[in-house]
C-alpha cells in the first residue's frame, strides 16, 4: 500500500508498505527519519514517542495505514526556528540527561508535550508525565534536572504561565 502523510511539516510518501508495518518502521526505514527509536516495539519503553496530530503516541503501536493524511512530528522536528536546538533539547544536553541517548528522542517529545500543557510542572507532575519512558543509564535524576531547566528557561523567556 501507499502511505502519504506529513512529517515535521513536510509531505512524505512511502510505497509498497506492508500492512503489518508500524509508523515507527515507516519513519525509520522508509522516509529517512531514524531518530525515533526501536527499543521494545510494544509500547512499553516510549523511545519511539512522536506527535500524531499533536498528541504524543508510541509510533510502534500505530499501524502505518493509520497515519494516512495525518501530521507526524518526531524528534527531528523539535529544533528551534533557526534550526538550532530547541529549549528541551538544549536542556537535556546541558543537564547531563543524555548518556547512551537511546531513550532521549522519546523523552524529548514527551517533555515537549508536558511543558506545552503544563509549563511549570511539579516534580510529581514530571514523574507522572514521563512514567512511560524507560531510561536505563541515568537513573532519571538528570532527566528531572533537564525538565526543570527547560521549564525555567521557557518560563524565563516569557513562554510560561
Amino acid at each position: 500500500m501507499r502511505v502519504v502523510f506529513t512529517a515535521n511539516g513536510r509531505p512524505v510518501e512511502a510505497d509498497d508498505v506492508w500492512e503489518g508495518e508500524s509508523l515507527l518502521y515507516v519513519l525509520r526505514e522508509r522516509v529517512g527519519l531514524p531518530g525515533s527509536k526501536n527499543a521494545c516495539e510494544q509500547g512499553e519503553c516510549g523511545s519511539c514517542t512522536v506527535y500524531l496530530d499533536g498528541v504524543p503516541v508510541c509510533a510502534c503501536l500505530v499501524a502505518a495505514g493509520q497515519v494516512q493524511g495525518r501530521e507526524v512530528r518526531t524528534v527531528e522536528g523539535l529544533a528551534g526556528p533557526d534550526g538550532g536546538l530547541g529549549p528541551v533539547q538544549q536542556a537535556f544536553l546541558d543537564a547531563g540527561a543524555v548518556q547512551c541517548g537511546f531513550c532521549t528522542p522519546g523523552l524529548l517529545v514527551q517533555t515537549d508535550a508536558l511543558l506545552a500543557q503544563r509549563p511549570r510542572p511539579s516534580d510529581a507532575d514530571i514523574r507522572e508525565a514521563l512514567s512511560g519512558n524507560l531510561c536505563r543509564c541515568t537513573g532519571y535524576e538528570k532527566i528531572m534536572d533537564a525538565v526543570r531547566l527547560a521549564s525555567a528557561r521557557i518560563a524565563g523567556a516569557g513562554g510560561g504561565e
Partner: protein
C-alpha cells in the same frame, strides 16, 4: 606485591593550569548534540543500498538433540536470499570469550532455549522472520538440567557438555570453581573463638542488562573477500578475535567500526549477531543488517548469574569479626562466557570490605541448560554483596549493635589485607563513606496527601494506612580493571596539527563509547595535556590497537591513561622541536592556552607556530600494574588492580498489607579518586544505583524448566521514573597513587552496594528476613 613509588608520585603531579574544558570540569558530551537531534547513528539506524535483513531461527527447547534441519520451504519464500545452518560455516564452529564452547549455529544439539539454529537473509525483515518459521527442525527433546542438584549429579541427569566434547573441563557440569582460605580458615576451633555466630542462605534472581538499543549491526562484504562490520559492542578487538576463526578470514580482513551503542552494562561483551551478519553478507555478497527485537534480545545476550549462597559469620561479643565462611553457587547456563572470572570475583570479593582474620570461601560456576550468563555491571560482586551485607545486618541484630557501627568497626582501610592476601595500597575510606551516608539529613516523613507519593501511587491502594517507613545501610567493594593476571592494556593515538590557524588534537582509540561518556573524558585529557581547546574524537575502529573492553569500570583508567601517555609523548616531541629550533633551556615548560609557556619566563611561542605544517602524532599503549592469578585452592594472590567502594542509605515506604514498596530516597557516597568529569561521574552513580534498585525489588528473568517466561519489557520490569527516587550523591576524591590522575573506576561500585541497602530498609519496615532478591510482594505478605 608490586609497587612503583616513582611512577605513583609522577601520576599525582598537580595540573597547575586548568585548561578550559580539561579534566575536573564537566564539558558537554561531544555526541550530545547529535543525540538530542535524533541524528546520532545507532547500530540499528544503519542503512546501505541493496542491503538485506538477517534473522535467526532459535531453539524453542532448552535441551534437545537435532535429528535434521530442512530449510527448503524457507528458501522457496519469495524475497529470501539465503538460509544458512552450521554446515555453511566456512571455519571453526565454536567461539567464546574465554573458552570456545559456544556454536555460532547449533551443531546437532541445543543447550538453551533461544540457541540460534539457522539464519535467513531476505529483502524485508518480516519476510526473513516468516521464512525462518518455515524451517523444519526435527528435535529430540531432552529433560533440561536446570537445578544445582541436577548439575552436580551428571551421572543421573547427564551433561550439558559431554566430557569428551570438552577436554579442558572434563569434570561434569562444573564450569569453574575458586576456593579461598585465609588465616586459619574455618574450623571448629576457629568457630569456638566467636561469641556470636549467624548463618543464612541467600538467593539472587537472574537479572538482565536491559540496555535499550537492541543488538544490531550492518555487515558489508568487501572487495578483498573480507567484511566490514558496523557494530554496537563493548570491545571491537575481542569481537574480531572470536569472529575470524569462524569466518575463516585473517583478522586484518575483518574491519570493525563502532556504531552508536544504546547502552551495554556487560550485555555486549559476548558476541550476538556479529558472526551471523557476516556469514550472511559473505554468502550473499550483499550488505546484511540484523536488528534484534526486544524478545530476541532477551535470548540473544548473556544475563547476570543467578546465585545461591550460604554465609556464616562469627564475631566476638563486642562485634569484631572472627571468621566468615561462604559457598556461592553461580548458574552460568549453557556456555562458559565469562563465568570463570565472575566466580573469581565472587570468591575474592565475596566477603566484602571487611577485616576478617579467618576466612573460607568456595565459589562455583555451573553449566546448565538455563540461559547463558556472563558479564553484567558488578560482575560477581553484586550477588555476594547481597549475601555479606544481609549477614552484617543479621549479626548486628544478634549483637544488639547499630548496623553502621558494626560495619565501621570491621571496615577495611588502607594497609589492611584482603582475604586474598592482597594489601590494600590505596585509600579505602569504607568507614567514612558509611558515616557520611548516615550523617545526611533524612527525607521528610511521608505526606499521604499526594496519592502519587504512596506505594501503589495512583492505583489508589492506600491513603496512608498500613504504610511503614524503613531505613537501611550497606557498603560494597568492586575491582577495577581486568584481574587475575590478565594482560590488560589500551592503545591511543594522539595527533596535534594546525587546522584553520588553530592547534587541534585528534584522538583515536578503539574504546567503545556505550553512553558512559568516555569520549568526553578523552577529549578533556587531551585538552589538559596539550593546552588546546579543540579536540576531535576519531571513530573507534580496529584500525588501531585494542583498547580492551568497556567493562570492569576500566575505560577511564585504561584508555584515559593511554590518551594521557600519547598526549604527553606529543608534548615531548613538540617541546624537543622548540628546544632545537629556538634553543629553549627552560625546565618548566607546559602547553597552556594554545601556547608554550615557561613558568618563569612566560609565553615562549604559540603552539600553531611551533607546529606549522608538521603535525605531531604519537601512539602509546597503557598497561595497569600487573596482577597475578589466584591460587585455585587457597585463593591467595595479588589479583586486583584497584578497588572501588560505595556506601548507600535507602529509605523506603512499605505498604505492609499489600507488600508494595516505594523507595523514597537512595543516597550514595563514593570515593572516586578523582572525578575527571563530575557530571558524568554522578551520572554513572545514579544509573548504577537504579539498576541495583531494579534487582532489589523488581528485575528477574523468570525461568520454568529452563524456559524464559518474561522476555519483554511488559513482563521484565525495569525501574521507571516513578519507581526511582531522588538519589543524592556525595563524592570523595582520595587519589589512588597507582592510577592516572589518581582516578578510581566508578561505574560498578554503586550497583554492587545499593541493592542490600534497599532490602535492609524493607526488612526494617516489615521485620521480614528477606533472603531472596528481587523482593516480591508475596515475600512481604506471606501470601502463598
Amino acid at each position: 606485591m608490586t609497587t612503583r613509588p616513582v611512577q605513583a608520585e609522577k601520576n599525582l603531579q598537580r595540573i597547575d593550569q586548568a585548561s578550559k574544558d580539561g579534566i575536573g570540569q564537566s564539558p558537554l558530551r561531544p555526541d550530545g548534540t547529535l543525540k538530542v537531534k535524533g541524528e546520532f547513528a545507532y547500530s540499528s539506524d544503519l542503512w546501505h543500498e541493496d542491503m538485506l535483513w538477517g534473522t535467526a531461527l532459535r531453539s524453542p527447547h532448552p535441551r534437545a538433540n537435532i535429528r535434521s534441519v530442512d530449510v527448503s520451504a524457507a528458501l522457496a519464500v519469495p524475497g529470501v536470499h539465503a538460509v544458512l545452518t552450521h554446515e555453511d560455516i566456512p571455519g571453526a564452529k565454536f567461539y567464546g570469550l574465554e573458552i570456545a564452547d559456544q556454536p555460532a549455529l547449533a551443531v546437532d544439539k541445543v543447550r538453551y532455549q533461544g540457541e540460534p539454529v539457522a539464519l535467513v537473509a531476505a529483502d524485508h525483515p518480516e519476510t526473513a522472520r516468516r521464512a525462518a518459521k518455515r524451517i523444519v527442525v526435527d528435535y529430540e527433546v531432552l529433560t533440561p538440567i536446570t537445578t544445582e542438584q541436577q548439575c552436580l549429579d551428571p551421572e543421573t541427569h547427564g551433561y550439558v557438555h559431554e566430557p569428551h566434547e570438552y577436554k579442558a573441563r572434563a569434570h561434569g557440569n562444573l564450569c569453574h570453581e575458586q576456593r579461598l582460605v585465609a588465616g586459619r580458615g574455618v574450623t571448629d576451633e576457629v568457630r569456638a573463638l566467636a561469641d556470636v555466630v549467624v548463618a543464612g542462605e541467600y538467593e539472587v534472581g537472574m537479572q538482565d542488562q536491559a540496555f535499550l538499543g537492541p543488538e544490531s549491526g550492518l555487515a558489508v562484504p568487501a572487495e578483498d573477500g573480507g567484511v566490514d562490520l558496523y557494530i554496537a559492542t563493548q570491545w571491537l578487538h575481542a569481537d574480531r578475535q572470536q569472529m575470524a576463526p569462524v569466518l575463516a578470514l585473517p583478522e586484518e580482513r575483518i574491519r570493525l567500526t563502532l556504531a552508536g551503542v544504546g547502552g551495554a552494562f556487560g550485555g555486549r561483551e559476548d558476541l550476538s549477531m556479529q558472526i551471523h551478519a557476516c556469514l550472511l553478507a559473505l554468502h550473499t555478497r550483499r550488505p546484511v543488517k540484523i536488528v534484534y527485537s526486544r524478545d530476541e534480545s532477551f535470548f540473544g545476550h548473556v544475563h547476570r548469574h543467578p546465585a545461591r549462597m550460604r554465609y556464616e559469620h562469627g564475631a566476638t561479643r563486642d562485634g569484631k569479626l572472627v571468621f566468615a565462611d561462604c559457598r556461592i553457587v553461580l548458574d552460568g547456563g549453557a556456555y562458559a562466557s565469562t563465568s570463570a572470572a565472575v566466580a573469581g570475583n565472587a570468591a575474592s570479593l565475596g566477603h566484602g570490605p571487611y577485616v576478617i582474620p579467618n576466612v573460607r570461601m568456595h565459589a562455583l560456576a555451573l553449566y546448565s541448560n538455563n540461559p547463558p550468563c556472563g558479564a553484567m555491571r558488578g560482575f560477581g560482586a553484586v550477588q555476594a554483596a547481597f549475601g555479606y551485607e544481609s549477614q552484617m545486618d543479621r549479626l548486628a541484630a544478634a549483637l544488639g549493635m547499630d548496623p553502621v557501627e558494626l560495619r565501621q568497626l570491621n571496615a577495611v582501610a588502607q594497609g589492611d589485607l584482603m582475604p586474598t592476601g592482597q594489601p590494600i595500597d590505596a585509600p579505602a575510606p569504607v568507614a567514612e563513606l558509611l558515616q557520611r551516608a548516615k550523617d545526611r539529613p533524612l527525607p521528610p516523613p511521608l505526606d499521604p496527601s499526594d496519592q502519587r507519593a504512596l506505594p501503589g501511587a495512583l492505583s489508589n491502594t492506600s491513603h496512608g494506612e498500613g504504610i511503614v517507613r524503613g531505613v537501611g545501610y550497606s557498603v560494597g567493594i568492586k575491582n577495577v580493571g581486568f584481574s587475575e593476571g590478565f594482560d590488560d592494556y589500551s592503545t591511543a593515538r594522539v595527533r596535534l596539527e594546525v587546522i584553520g590557524g588553530e592547534p587541534v588534537a585528534l584522538v583515536h582509540t578503539a574504546a567503545a563509547e556505550v553512553g558512559q561518556g568516555g569520549i568526553t573524558v578523552h577529549a578533556q585529557i587531551a585538552r589538559t595535556e596539550l593546552g588546546v581547546e579543540r579536540v576531535t574524537i576519531h571513530p573507534a575502529t580496529t584500525g588501531i590497537g585494542s583498547a580492551g573492553s568497556t567493562s570492569a569500570s576500566r575505560q577511564t583508567y585504561m584508555t584515559g591513561g593511554a590518551v594521557k601517555l600519547a598526549a604527553e609523548a606529543v608534548r615531548e616531541v613538540l617541546l624537543d622541536r622548540g628546544r632545537r629550533r629556538y634553543g629553549w633551556t627552560h625546565r618548566d615548560l607546559t602547553l597552556t592556552g594554545g601556547q608554550v609557556v615557561s613558568a618563569s619566563a612566560g609565553v615562549l611561542a604559540p603552539l600553531a607556530e611551533l607546529l606549522g605544517d608538521e603535525p605531531v602524532e604519537q601512539t602509546r599503549v597503557h598497561r595497569h600494574r600487573p596482577t597475578a592469578a589466584l591460587d585455585p585452592e587457597t585463593g591467595q594472590g595479588f589479583g586486583h588492580v584497584q578497588y572501588s567502594f560505595c556506601a548507600n542509605r535507602a529509605v523506603v515506604d512499605v505498604d505492609v498489607e499489600l507488600g508494595l514498596v516505594r523507595v523514597v530516597e537512595l543516597t550514595a557516597v563514593q570515593d572516586v579518586g578523582r572525578a575527571l568529569n563530575p557530571l558524568a561521574v554522578v551520572g554513572q552513580i545514579h544509573g548504577g544505583c537504579t539498576q541495583a534498585l531494579g534487582l532489589a525489588v523488581m528485575e528477574e528473568i523468570v525461568l520454568t524448566d529452563g524456559k524464559v517466561r518474561n522476555a519483554s519489557f511488559t513482563d521484565y520490569l525495569i525501574p521507571t521514573i516513578l519507581d526511582t527516587p531522588p538519589i543524592p550523591v556525595e563524592l570523595l576524591e582520595l587519589p589512588d597513587p597507582h592510577a592516572p590522575y589518581g582516578l578510581r573506576g566508578v561505574g560498578e561500585a554503586p550497583t554492587v552496594s545499593a541493592t542490600p541497602s534497599i532490602v535492609a530498609a524493607i526488612r526494617q519496615a516489615t521485620g521480614k528476613a528477606l533472603t531472596r532478591i528481587p523482593v516480591r510482594p508475596e515475600h512481604l505478605t506471606d501470601t502463598p
